[in-house]
């Protein structure tokens, strides 16, 4: 239940003169500030930050937190986002002072432990992808896409090839075309097919000497493995192009197959998805990229390399590849998330990692089968780690939409699946249970969905009924945007 007092806005809670953080009095000679700084640089007014006592700050934010659903509190089958359990052991280990308090400009000799971790992570990501060269720089998957596309552009530029097109299937994540446009490419979208897989004829028709990169998510956003991927890769390579694998769905194939083995030339990982960085209500992520040898020289740096000091001791150094595209962010990367990925890989090892994908795929197929009468999946007899069900029949026959179901699920204590994506499925519900959910949770979820399908449509249109708020008026929000509170309100 909402604590309405504590969750009022910070400015309403503010009382002049209240303090939480107190700082030591300065013990250096106290000179007038305008002797230190030019008077015309000094602020005349202080920013109007709210003034609260520490207990009030804590109560405000703790009460706000209770208005969220999260993996720690609820089943969260948000397709494409891999909302698996985040092991708590990572938190203590990644908060060791010798790790969390390192400054990015400490000398390499003083951070050998950190560089060793990052080097080993590079090696592991190379092995899991089958692509030997890794840069840990990108801050998230979308930035990994951009970085890799700039790598491709630099590669073609050096070869004197003017390739301007990036091609992707209609089911691609929105970041694929957005990254391609940002990297200066023209975007070409393929037609959707009834099988949900890439249409080879359509692809062939678009391939020419202008084709730079084909971006593919495999398994794709319908949760289907692109079985023709080897052929697709050959087609691209024959046309002189490169294959980019969007690694958002790596949770399905760990230790089973590798992007490098099915023809991918470049890929990104979403460490926060596959390797359990906490999602933090929107981030941070980490989006390392892995590429083939012939692209390694173009990677964004710095990258960690290992040397031997002669006495048999490893010595870790930061290096920048010879023809690097340059930096894509400041400092090394989103270390906090990369370290959690490292801890996860060290916990699981090769067998554990393979079991992750096996259990994720089993859980998804189990749900898919048990839901087929109420929420059938139009594409594919079996799925990989997720599937896209359709509420089209329920919608046509009973007026119950995917949105209604999503909202009603919240009442029953389940986070909603991803809805209305990918666009190729009408009334889409993209369900990704992940491997960390038990059979009991999945059974209860199935039972709930059956129950909802038999509820009154009008009642469902008004769902959710038990959350902190009912459906928000998004039209009003967009028409007259209110994007900040002001001190007066």
């Amino acid at each position: 239940m909402r604590n309405t007092l504590a969750t009022r806005s910070l400015f309403e809670l503010s009382k002049p003169g209240r303090r939480a953080a107190i700082f030591p009095k300065s013990d250096v000679p106290s000179r007038p500030l305008d002797e230190l700084l030019p008077a015309n640089q000094l602020a005349t007014d202080l920013p109007t930050l709210p003034e609260l006592a520490e207990p009030d700050v804590v109560r405000h934010f703790v009460n706000l937190s209770t208005l969220n659903m999260s993996v720690d509190t609820h089943f969260y089958p948000l397709g494409s986002c891999t909302m698996k359990y985040n092991p708590k052991r990572h938190e203590r280990l990644c908060s060791l002072p010798g790790i969390v308090d390192l400054h990015p400009y400490q000398s390499e000799n003083d951070i050998q432990g950190m560089l060793q971790i990052l080097f080993e992570l590079q090696e592991s990501l190379a092995e899991i992808s089958g692509l030997p060269a890794v840069s840990l720089q990108p801050a998230a998957g979308a930035q990994g896409e951009l970085a890799a596309l700039l790598v491709a552009a630099a590669y073609f530029r050096e070869r004197g090839e003017n390739r301007t097109k990036v091609i992707f299937p209609s089911s691609a994540h929105g970041t694929n075309p957005a990254s391609a446009a940002l990297a200066g490419f023209d975007c070409v979208q393929l037609k959707g097919t009834s099988s949900g897989l890439v249409d080879l004829d359509d692809l062939q028709a678009h391939l020419d000497d202008q084709t730079a990169v084909f971006m593919i998510t495999n398994p794709n956003t319908l949760g289907l493995f692109e079985q023709d991927i080897a052929k697709i890769s050959d087609m691209l390579h024959d046309a002189g192009g490169l294959v980019y694998v969007d690694g958002a769905n790596m949770n399905a194939i760990l230790g089973k197959t590798r992007p490098g083995d099915f023809g991918g030339d470049m890929m990104h990982y979403n460490v926060h998805k596959t390797f359990t960085g906490p999602h933090g209500a929107g981030g941070p992520g980490a989006g390392p990229i892995a590429v083939r040898d012939f692209l390694a020289d173009y990677l964004p740096g710095p990258i960690v390399s290992r040397e031997n000091d002669g006495a048999g001791e490893a010595n870790y150094r930061l290096t920048t590849p010879a023809k690097s595209i340059g930096r894509v962010r400041s400092f090394f990367g989103n270390i906090g998330i990369l370290l959690r990925g490292y801890c996860y890989l060290r916990t699981l090892g090769a067998d554990g990692l393979r079991e992750v994908s096996e259990d994720a795929v089993l859980n998804a197929n189990y749900l898919k089968v048990l839901l087929k009468d109420v929420l059938p999946t139009p594409h594919g007899e079996r799925c990989m780690h997720e599937f896209v069900a359709s509420a089209q029949t329920l919608h046509k026959e009973h007026g119950i939409s995917a949105m209604d179901i999503a909202k009603r699920l919240l009442d029953y204590g389940y986070h909603a699946p991803t809805v209305y994506f990918p666009l190729v499925v009408p009334e889409a519900m993209m369900i990704e249970p992940t491997e960390t959910e038990s059979k009991e949770t999945l059974d209860a979820f199935v039972e709930t969905l059956h129950k909802i399908a038999n509820e009154d449509a009008a009642f469902l249109h008004d769902a959710p009924h038990s959350t902190a708020i009912s459906r928000p008026d998004e039209v009003q929000a967009a028409r007259k945007p209110v994007l900040r509170m002001t001190v007066e309100t």
């Binding site: 303090r19 300065s26 602020a43 706000l64 092995e127 929105g174 197959t257």
Partner: protein, 436 residues
Amino acid sequence: MLETVGVENVDDLFHQIPDALRLDRPLDLPPAMTEIELESHMHSLAAKNVGPGSRVCLLGGGAYDHFIPAVVDEITSRGEFYTAYTPYQAEASQGSLQAFFEFQSLICELTGMDVSNASLYEGGTAVSEAAFMAMRVTRRHGKIVVLGSLHPEYRSILDTYLTHLDCEVVVVETPQGTADLAAVEAALDDKTAALIVQQPNFFGSLEQAVELTELARKHGALSIVSCDPISLGLIKRPGDYGADIVVAEGQSLGIPLQYGGPFLGILACREAYMRKMPGRLIGRTTDRQGNPCYVLNLQAREQHIRREKATSNICTNQGLMALRATVYLTLLGKQGLREVAESSCRMAHYAAEQLTAIDGIELLFDRPFFKEFAIRYTGDINELIGKACDAGFDIGPTMSQFNLPGCDDSSQALLIAVTEKRTRTEIDQLAKALGG
């Protein structure tokens, strides 16, 4: 479960993957570890780093050792914040949505701007996003003018992001440590989309930000100011002198150094440019019962709706870091921010006095500075760093590790950053060690 699915074993579920593409061996990864083993492993690796137990941090260059109140960690480690994702389902995400709305509000107060987004990756990409935004606003795509005193890594990112465009990045060199107004004016023209100024700049010095903003305006370019949020407790807010877009590295606002990330990209602007902004925006509206509530707003700018026409490719942002900054700024309040800024500034000036009293050490630039300054050493700079380390202090980074055009004088120079955590005793010890 296998029976329900209708397969005999788990491997049958992977028949979609053609045999020829299946990995026929185990991955070659280090063996699995139990929690006890992992704990011991990570402790041994952490022990190979020189941490805060043995060195006092006076390192700067865009990442600073400010104090983080315990409440920040306590709040942000709440599982409900920590393990939620992008608040697409507003009804089940009001906690994060309201917190991000508060973040936007606090950033607006802090910078003096009208609108803030809900975060970008870090301070460097925020500069590039602002440059793209300025091109959209001005419809000028030919030129971006930056000062040589912009963080060299931020400039490098800008070069990376703009390589493929016919957009020239003109660097106005700053051999005196801050920009020469006439040189800046000479670089601006009617093709220029933006002038990018860092305040305080990479050397810690204060630019003539007011005059620079006026120059940009005069030529129809947007003024982009990259600032240190802590400095705004003491020096003028960019909004007060007419900046169009304010960006910042938000690490100083309660985010641990953790070897460079995750940090927090801040971007705020004038209301007129709201619909050209990159990244997520949280808006307030009402629900069906008329209760105030919060939603993701103006999503038509974003990649999941607009695809190749989106204002940015950003999807996952730095939500948890924005939450840290929100809690931090709330804990500090109006007075607390002032005290942190003033204390850092005073201690930095004390440090500069003590250090430049040493034979062979002088300020690289004779310019006003906030909490960070560059010194030049007449001897071997690495020897100076060594002396500091031996006495338990980290100073730097050295200027020579960066590409700093027009800054030929910097081979024996380094930065020193001082925060409110430092004490007079520490500074005196450092001065004694370097002078000895």
